[in-house]
């Protein structure tokens, strides 16, 4: 074939086609979530156990001074609520990552990746879909917490939404990046041990940073450089109608960095995804 023959008409894609694709991916993710009721329940049970059992017991042990964004003394349950909201998103991001590894193992991922729309767009849609699911979980948690008398200012439920979207995107992008490097589903347990637990515990989710500084300066700096800490603080401030600019910058920057990493990792010409055929294929 001559190169002259390689000049066919290029039609491109319309905005409607992009939106249809986005809608389809979000719809599929929501369907899967609804089909997996146990996933929804476990996503709620985990933070509620922390809230109802751990926090109740810890309230008597841990004294909290007045720190921004709070303007008065608060119960420990109130303090850890933003951290638990972020925890829901962290687990959801990793769950999405697990789901992508599973899809790749089972072959479902090919359906997505052979779509004619740009791969960066497909991955972004997947990320948005996962974030939307995490929002459902977080608001369900907030509703239950409200019945437990752990309530934010009424406007806080709205002002926290952009912060939740951004933190959900960051944690989802991190999960996506991690999924690109996991070769087998069995390796996913390592993610629990090396990503989720350290990120959660070495953060301001359970204790204020000044408390950690008093106990261990080294751990304080680890917490300070942990993006999850900034996701928690972004949510905490937004829940009270305030903005933590440093947290916003860190979470925004990490979202962009993780997303670029994930897109590169899933790029067929440069990616980290398995380059050999799946088992049994030739």
């Amino acid at each position: 074939m001559t190169s002259a023959a390689m000049t066919p008409i290029q039609r491109g894609f319309s905005l409607a086609e992009y939106l249809t694709c986005l809608n389809g991916i979000v719809w599929r993710e929501a369907l899967r979530f609804l089909h997996q009721r146990e996933r929804f329940i476990s996503a709620l049970v985990r933070p509620l156990v922390w809230l109802f059992i751990f926090a109740t017991g810890f309230r008597q042990v841990l004294g909290l001074s007045i720190i921004p964004p709070y303007e008065t003394y608060i119960l420990y349950e109130v303090y850890i609520a933003p951290g638990l909201m972020a925890m829901i998103q962290l687990f959801n991001g990793m769950q999405s990552s697990l789901s992508m590894v599973y899809d790749r193992e089972m072959g479902n991922m090919r359906t997505l990746l052979v779509s004619p729309l740009p791969r960066w767009f497909l991955l972004s849609c997947k990320l948005l879909a996962g974030t939307a699911v995490s929002l459902l979980q977080v608001y369900a948690f907030l509703l239950i917490a409200w019945f437990w008398d752990i309530a934010a200012p009424p406007t806080g439920y709205l002002t926290v939404l952009p912060a939740l979207v951004l933190s959900g995107l960051m944690l989802g992008a991190l999960g996506m990046l991690i999924s690109s490097g996991i070769k087998q589903l069995e390796n996913f347990a390592g993610v629990m041990n090396f990503v989720i637990f350290p990120m959660f515990f070495a953060s301001s989710a359970l204790y204020p940073l000044w408390r950690i500084l008093e106990s261990s300066p080294m751990l304080y700096y680890v917490c300070l450089f942990n993006p999850f800490t900034h996701a928690v603080e972004l949510i905490r401030f937004a829940l009270y109608g305030q903005m933590n600019w440093i947290a916003l910058a860190v979470v925004g920057g990490c979202t962009i960095a993780f997303m670029i990493g994930a897109i590169l990792a899933y790029d067929p010409s440069r990616g980290l995804i398995r380059r050999g055929p799946a088992g049994g294929e030739t």
């Binding site: 023959a5 290029q10 089972m106 479902n108 052979v114 779509s115 030739t282």
Partner: protein
């Protein structure tokens, strides 16, 4: 209505509407493609083309490199060396335009088992930018055609292996591609299901002018009028009309020709394998 009858019914409704850019272009052109996994070379300087509205069989034993080639055509893997074009659209340079014209049935099942039959089709349609109303209409058409209309709401995991394969083929055709790739599409199916699927695909070629690249290791799936590409250990050993390949190899049939070409005594290409 048997599955074959169901496949046959209504084929003409979709119609064959050649695109202006499809004229005089090979449906698929593979030019000097090589691929390696680390130090292991899976494909070595592959070159062949698939003519529009033709059935081309890609024959090779397990490990020949068929699935690797499919992964390159579908852009699951990046092209390391060479060039792949789909109706003239370079897969590396214009993947969107190329993939839009392509339907694929991979060797492993790629359906979402937890979704229903219709939901799988709607999801695929959305990934190709097809709106919900149009997608529902097309889904209804293809399900009627493959005799699965009564299973539209069933979970895919409740279908038989043959039904899943038919659904995958129907799904691959939902966005009306001009080139269909099938990678060992009949593996694991019984004799009747295999025959039904093969007949269906041949009808797509004859009635709708779809171009087909059919990867297989089974000799009896290759017809005497088909185009044939013999792939062995990552190299194309022969290509052309089946009769020509047999004659050039000095064989009496595909089986002996293949054995002569590959210097193999393997019998894995028999229909009962």
């Amino acid at each position: 209505m048997t599955a074959t009858d169901a496949f046959s019914a209504g084929q003409s409704t979709q119609g064959f509407h050649p695109r202006p850019d499809a004229v005089e272009m090979p449906a698929l052109s593979i030019e000097g493609v090589s691929h390696a996994y680390g130090s292991r070379r899976a494909l070595i300087d592959i070159a062949f083309s698939v003519a529009p509205a033709s059935f081309t069989a890609l024959l090779g034993l397990n490990g020949a490199g068929k699935s690797t080639l499919f992964s390159l055509i579908t852009r699951l893997f990046g092209i390391q060396h060479g060039r792949i074009g789909i109706f003239g659209h370079d897969v590396a340079q214009a993947p969107g335009e190329a993939l839009r014209l392509l339907g694929v049935v991979f060797q492993p099942r790629t359906l979402d088992l937890d979704l229903s039959v219709t939901q799988n089709l709607l999801y695929h349609a959305a990934l190709h930018g097809i709106g919900r109303r149009d997608a529902r209409a097309r889904s209804g058409e293809v399900l009627a055609r493959i005799d699965l209309a009564d299973r539209a709401g069933s979970k895919v995991r409740d279908l038989s292996g043959g039904q899943m394969r038919r659904l995958e083929i129907a799904r691959a055709l939902l966005h009306r591609p001009r080139l269909l790739l099938l990678d060992e599409a009949t593996v694991g199916l019984d004799v009747k299901a295999r025959a039904d699927i093969l007949n269906h695909v041949r009808q797509l070629v004859a009635e709708q002018g779809i171009s087909v690249l059919w990867a297989t290791h089974l000799f009896d799936e290759i017809g005497s009028n088909d185009d044939l590409v013999v792939l062995h250990q990552g190299r194309v050993l022969a290509q052309g009309k089946v009769a020509r390949v047999i004659a050039d190899a000095g064989g009496s049939d595909i089986n002996t020709a293949f054995m002569r070409l590959t210097g193999s005594t393997a019998q894995s290409g028999s229909s009962t394998s």
